[in-house]
């Protein structure tokens, strides 16, 4: 390789790559929203008394945690349209971004569901009993007493899961979505790979910086939310 590297050019690439930031954030937020909603349903299924729903929820979690997100993307993006075409349904109208959001929602929902279940079970059972003892109904007890405490317990894991989800948005490039990584690849390709290293260093820095901010946000949110409520060690 004959050319020299020009590290001084790295900062210059950052704004260009960041043009794709809104799309990456869109993918992140929508996947987060659908992932959490799915996870809530799965959690209700796994904690409820219905044995069939228990089994279905556990199977779903096990499958979604066991399958690499990239494999899921290929299955859904390449495989599903093929099957659907076989039964006469045309899926070519669905955007690539929509496929990515669907895949990330599905794969993240398993982690979110495990987080929700663990946080719910971590709330002391005396809290529910106390709520019942003052005459609350089940749902009121959940809404006023159990959920706020489970949420506080879940914040660190939620932060981690969001960071993981954010990093996984980079898989969007595999189907040709111009997210942050997709943009970087396009820039690298446009110069025939001569600035490849600098572009990817800039990309790595962007991901790191955003993850760093997300982590700080998670920490300060946790601190603000659980202020004064933490169990003192007496």
């Amino acid at each position: 390789m004959g050319h020299t590297y020009d590290f001084a050019s790295i900062p210059g690439y950052i704004p260009k790559i960041m043009q794709a930031f809104p799309l990456t954030i869109e993918i992140l937020l929508l996947s987060l929203l659908f992932g959490l909603a799915l996870a809530a349903l799965v959690t209700i299924g796994s904690l409820g008394r219905n044995k069939v729903l228990n089994a279905v929820s556990k199977g779903y979690i096990s499958f979604m945690r066991g399958i690499p997100t990239l494999v899921l993307i290929f299955l859904l993006y390449l495989g599903l349209p093929q099957i659907m075409q076989g039964i006469g349904v045309d899926m070519s109208g669905i955007s690539k971004t929509a496929y990515i959001i669907a895949c990330l929602s599905l794969s993240s929902s398993a982690n979110f569901a495990e987080m929700m279940r663990a946080s719910y079970l971590a709330v002391d059972k005396g809290q529910r009993e106390a709520a019942y003892s003052v005459g609350m109904k089940g749902f009121t007890a959940f809404r006023r007493i159990i959920f706020p405490q489970a949420f506080g317990i879940a914040i660190p894991a939620l932060g981690n899961n969001i960071i993981m989800l954010f990093k996984e948005t980079s898989l969007a490039f595999t189907v040709g979505v111009i997210d942050i990584l997709g943009k970087a690849r396009a820039m690298s390709a446009a110069s025939y790979g001569t600035n490849r290293l600098e572009v990817y260093i800039a990309t790595g820095l962007i991901f790191w910086a955003i993850c760093f901010i997300l982590e700080k946000l998670s920490k300060s949110f946790e601190k603000a939310y659980t202020k004064g409520r933490k169990k003192a060690t007496s």
Binding site: V134, G138, R144, I145, Q149
Partner: protein, 255 residues
Amino acid sequence: MANIVELKNIHKSFGENHILKGVDMNIKKGEVVVILGPSGSGKTTLLRTINFLDSADEGSVTIHDFTVDCKKHTKSQVIELRRKTAMVFQNYNLFQNKTILENVMEGLVTVKKYKKSDAEKVSREILGKVGLAERCDFYPSQLSGGQQQRAGIARALILDPDVILFDEPTSALDPELVGEVLNTIKAVAQTGITMIVVTHEIAFAREVASRVVFMEGGVVVEEGIPEEILVNPKEPRTQQFLKRITNPNASDEPG
């Protein structure tokens, strides 16, 4: 006077373990009933079957003319029954996500549908009565065990229940904090509210109880006024228990 609490033939098993073997109890309005007994005798379980935190397998619970069949009941019957009771827990079980004031207000706002401002006013008053006026805005984790338990008592009192159930209210406390909580309970007893207290505090039972019930092996062995049960118990099992608890160093062997 009519009974405010009636328990009929209460049976309860946990798996193979037959904890309550047919307990009957009638309690009149204003009575302070203290339940004594060795651990494993079923006294806490009995208390918890009254408000259906543990649902008994057989029998019935009647509070203020409202009867719930333990075998066959609906959710709404259980809720109506619970709303006639309140409970003070061994581990306080204050709502960790709420301040002391909010803990006391919670039942008034969500269950009794008080306006927030009204609920706050009466809650502050009652917290003042248990000596926590200065602690209203603290979270439970910021208070001592004794303060938490007094807040727990305020949370139960404010609901103006037909009966308050005390489940070993001082057992989790550091010894030096037991006194303040017992004094609060005594003050509550003097207001004439009906109370059922499961405890190991014999001196407290003697002072406050209008009736002492001694349980062992899932049945009521003996009951009566404290002077009878605590001073001259007829049943050998009661005598043994009192000997053990009042003089822990004495060996059971004759000699």
